[in-house]
């Protein structure tokens, strides 16, 4: 459940006591109608809070932490595990790393692309899963396993579910928010080079195995998309 609009407004008043709603929306780069709608419904999306925080130069994680629902974010950030860091490296970057390891200097120096990547959510959950994680999450939150799976497939992770998942896995609370794209790695308090260092620390065997797993999963997704596409085209070809 997103943020209660009452507590949101209290927070907003604390952050920008003199700004009008129009100013807030302009600074945060959000639509006035969106904010108005969320306020009327009584539930403000976390992404709205994050946009406003960024607009006013406040750390979004600290802003979220002022709400009871996200109390777990209070205090010093918990450093991410190596697995989590590597899970947030995009598949193409992993492949580049493989090439770079086997033939150093053959490709231009690379900078990892920003989080989140197209399969970030699933890779993050896989990285922290001990085999029972999905079960524990669905027990803790009441989400049906197939709905949880659907989120992973769509590369979506609602913030509340992200928190519940990290708690069930015993890792830092902000990792899921990074994977879900709500906040950046810097906002989560990850050191700027953490992902690159975690990647460099992998042995070649680990790296290649991981890249292989990613490719296999990607291949499956692509083949399914192609099949769906073919079916649709066939209908259109005959009946369009």
């Amino acid at each position: 459940m997103p943020l209660q609009s009452k507590s949101f407004q209290r927070w907003l008043h604390g952050v920008a006591p003199h700004a009008s709603t129009a100013d807030v929306c302009r600074i945060a780069g959000i639509k006035r109608t969106t904010l108005a709608q969320q306020l009327v419904r009584g539930k403000v999306a976390e992404s709205t809070l994050v946009s406003i925080s960024r607009g006013f130069d406040i750390n979004p994680v600290q802003a979220l932490a002022t709400f009871d629902l996200y109390a777990v974010l209070r205090g010093d950030p918990v450093p991410p595990t190596a697995c989590e860091l590597v899970s947030q490296v995009a598949t193409v970057d992993l492949l580049r790393a493989v090439v770079e390891r086997s033939q150093p200097g053959s490709i231009p120096a690379m900078v990892l692309s920003a989080t989140p990547h197209p399969t970030a959510v699933r890779n993050w959950v896989d990285a922290i899963d001990d085999g029972e994680l999905r079960h524990r999450v669905s027990q803790a939150t009441g989400i049906a396993p197939q709905n949880f799976s659907a989120h992973l497939t769509a590369n979506r992770l609602p913030p509340e579910l992200a928190i519940a998942t990290s708690r069930a896995a015993g890792v830092g609370p902000a990792g899921g928010l990074v994977a879900g794209g709500l906040i950046t790695e810097a906002e989560a308090g990850w050191p700027p080079n953490a992902r690159q260092e975690a990647l460099d620390a992998m042995t070649q065997g680990e790296l290649v195995t991981l890249a292989g797993e990613r490719l296999q999963a990607l291949g499956k997704t692509l083949r399914r998309q192609e099949q769906d596409h073919e079916r649709t085209e066939r209908i259109w070809e005959n009946l369009g």
């Binding site: 590369n155 066939r234 005959n238 009946l239 369009g240």
Partner: protein, 242 residues
């Protein structure tokens, strides 16, 4: 309501047929134009005014109704084959235009003609509602409902798979509409169970079936046009967030 429905259905079918004209001239999917044109003609002949006018010319013994039956069979044959091909159901295609399917059609046509001939059909009346209904008349009417129902039964599983699958939303909606239309044709097999005082219910089901089927087919076409218009960006999911 039931007086407006036939005309509304006619207008919808005619509008879609006219909208298909440019595609016909360009030579794209001509069969689809013929299907819509046939549907329009079917509806036209099931409305009292046009029916009586044509039947008067043909001798006033309801031969028009027999012609309407044949037109309906033709419509469903064409539509069935085209839909089966589109929804990639080889079994449905075989069931409709394979030897068995054509045997079913041949028998239906033969028996329809037979029952028409042995029935006293004098006195032009739309839907033959004004005649005294004996067993041969019931059989004639049942055959007229049977073939569309047979085609619908062949197609429904494949359409359902598309409705519950992962195609674009607009296409799914159109397929759902088509599914409803064809499912109503199966429901219409139960017409003898509807008491004669509720004749309006029969025509409600019939016209809703045609309307949903026509709109569903047009919706598929629309979903294609819509998808083609959107600039397609077939992202391989490698580099960007989608």
């Amino acid at each position: 309501m039931t007086a407006v429905l036939p005309w509304a259905t006619l207008v919808v079918c005619l509008a879609i047929t006219i909208a298909r004209l440019p595609s016909l001239l360009r030579g794209e999917n001509r069969v689809l134009f013929y299907i819509f044109a046939l549907m329009t003609l079917d509806i036209l002949l099931s409305i009292e005014g046009p029916y009586l006018a044509l039947d008067a010319v043909l001798g006033g013994v309801n031969v028009t109704n027999l012609i309407l039956r044949f037109l309906l069979y033709g419509t469903f044959l064409l539509m069935g084959v085209k839909i089966a091909m589109g929804f990639a159901s080889a079994s449905a295609e075989r069931a409709i235009r394979g030897p068995w399917g054509l045997t079913v059609l041949g028998l239906t046509v033969g028996l329809t003609t037979f029952f028409f001939v042995i029935t006293d059909t004098r006195g032009s009346t739309v839907g033959m509602n004004g005649l005294t209904w004996g067993p041969s008349m019931e059989a004639y009417a049942a055959l007229g409902r049977f073939y569309p129902g047979f085609v619908a039964a062949c197609l429904l599983p494949a359409i359902w798979r598309t409705v519950t699958g992962r195609p674009p939303a607009l296409l799914r909606g159109a397929a759902a509409l088509l599914f409803v239309g064809l499912a109503l044709l199966l429901v219409s097999q139960l017409f003898p169970l509807i008491p004669a005082v509720h004749l309006w219910l029969r025509s409600l089901i019939n016209y809703s079936a045609v309307l949903a089927t026509a709109l569903g087919l047009a919706g598929i076409w629309l979903s294609k046009a819509y998808a083609r218009r959107k600039t397609k960006n077939f992202d391989l999911g490698l580099s960007q967030k989608h």
